[in-house]
């Protein structure tokens, strides 16, 4: 089991699983997959904007439960040591620099996903799976932006 889980499977295995989750959400509860909505459900409930938690929060909790179960079965984390280019550039004890950068990047992710009506899941998979033109535009835009910004970071960091 540990050997199986420590290697990533072929791309079509994960692609099929994610595609079936998309289809399964429609088939069971007629909803479009999305993850940032779970965070939003938490915020809206905590700030009194909504009086209950939506299904999206349950989906987000499921993502966390699945990731925890994976870690227990695999016997270790699949996140990697440190945190990518940030701890390599700033050092693994640069809590303010790495933490501050991650916090700021998280704000861009949260704000941008809400404004665009979805994240990599909601627009990139959910919206494109129902051929929503706005989701194709959003997906093309965040892919192109992220690729461009990654090359800028590689050049300067």
């Amino acid at each position: 089991m540990k050997d199986l889980l420590s290697q990533r499977p072929a791309w079509y295995v994960i692609g099929l699983a994610i595609g079936l989750v998309t289809v399964g959400l429609f088939a069971l509860i007629n909803e479009r997959v999305g993850v940032v909505g779970g965070y939003s459900s938490l915020v809206e409930r905590a700030t009194g904007r909504s009086s209950s938690f939506g299904w999206k929060l349950w989906f987000l909790l499921g993502v966390m439960g699945g990731a925890l179960a994976f870690r227990l079965l695999a016997g270790g984390s699949s996140v990697g040591d440190g945190y990518g280019w940030l701890t390599r550039s700033f050092g693994s004890h640069a809590y303010a620099a790495v933490g501050g950068t991650l916090f700021a990047a998280g704000m861009l992710v949260g704000f941008g996903a809400k404004y665009a009506g979805g994240c990599t899941s909601g627009n990139g998979i959910g919206g494109t799976s129902v051929a929503s033109p706005a989701s194709f535009v959003a997906t093309g835009t965040f892919m192109a932006t992220a690729i461009a910004v990654s090359f800028v970071i590689r050049a300067v960091a």
Binding site: L42, L108, V109, T120
Partner: protein, 153 residues
Amino acid sequence: MRARLAALGLGAVFGVAMSWGQFVDPDRIRDMLLLRDPYLYLMMGTAVAVGLLGTRLMRRLHARALLTGDPVRWETTRPARRHVVGAAIFGMGWAVADTCPAPIAAQLAQGALWSVFTFAGVLVGIVGYLRWQEEPSRSRAASRLGRARLETD
């Protein structure tokens, strides 16, 4: 209740897939965004192909959702400025942190403590968005536009 359990269960499959496919590893995402590794693009292409086939098939069969009884249907949205501007802001954050909302939650659940910062940032970003949308001047503009700007998924 059954709908919540269904969301929880399908979310768990999603979380395992994110973890097993190593989308929780920022260096994997960085390699994909630097075009060194096509895995992300091939995975998303497969997922969308399966999603398109499944949703078209359910619509053709006039399927009803098993737990809610609703006809399986969806709305599509015409592209607007927010889909470009919002996605560009999102893309910047994605490239800096090499992660997005599903992997952030999965990283945290796997015990990656750095992701506490990213998770908190996402929540604060959403609060900022909601406050911005609720500003009186924006609300007036939104009602002139038929509240189209307040639509979120």
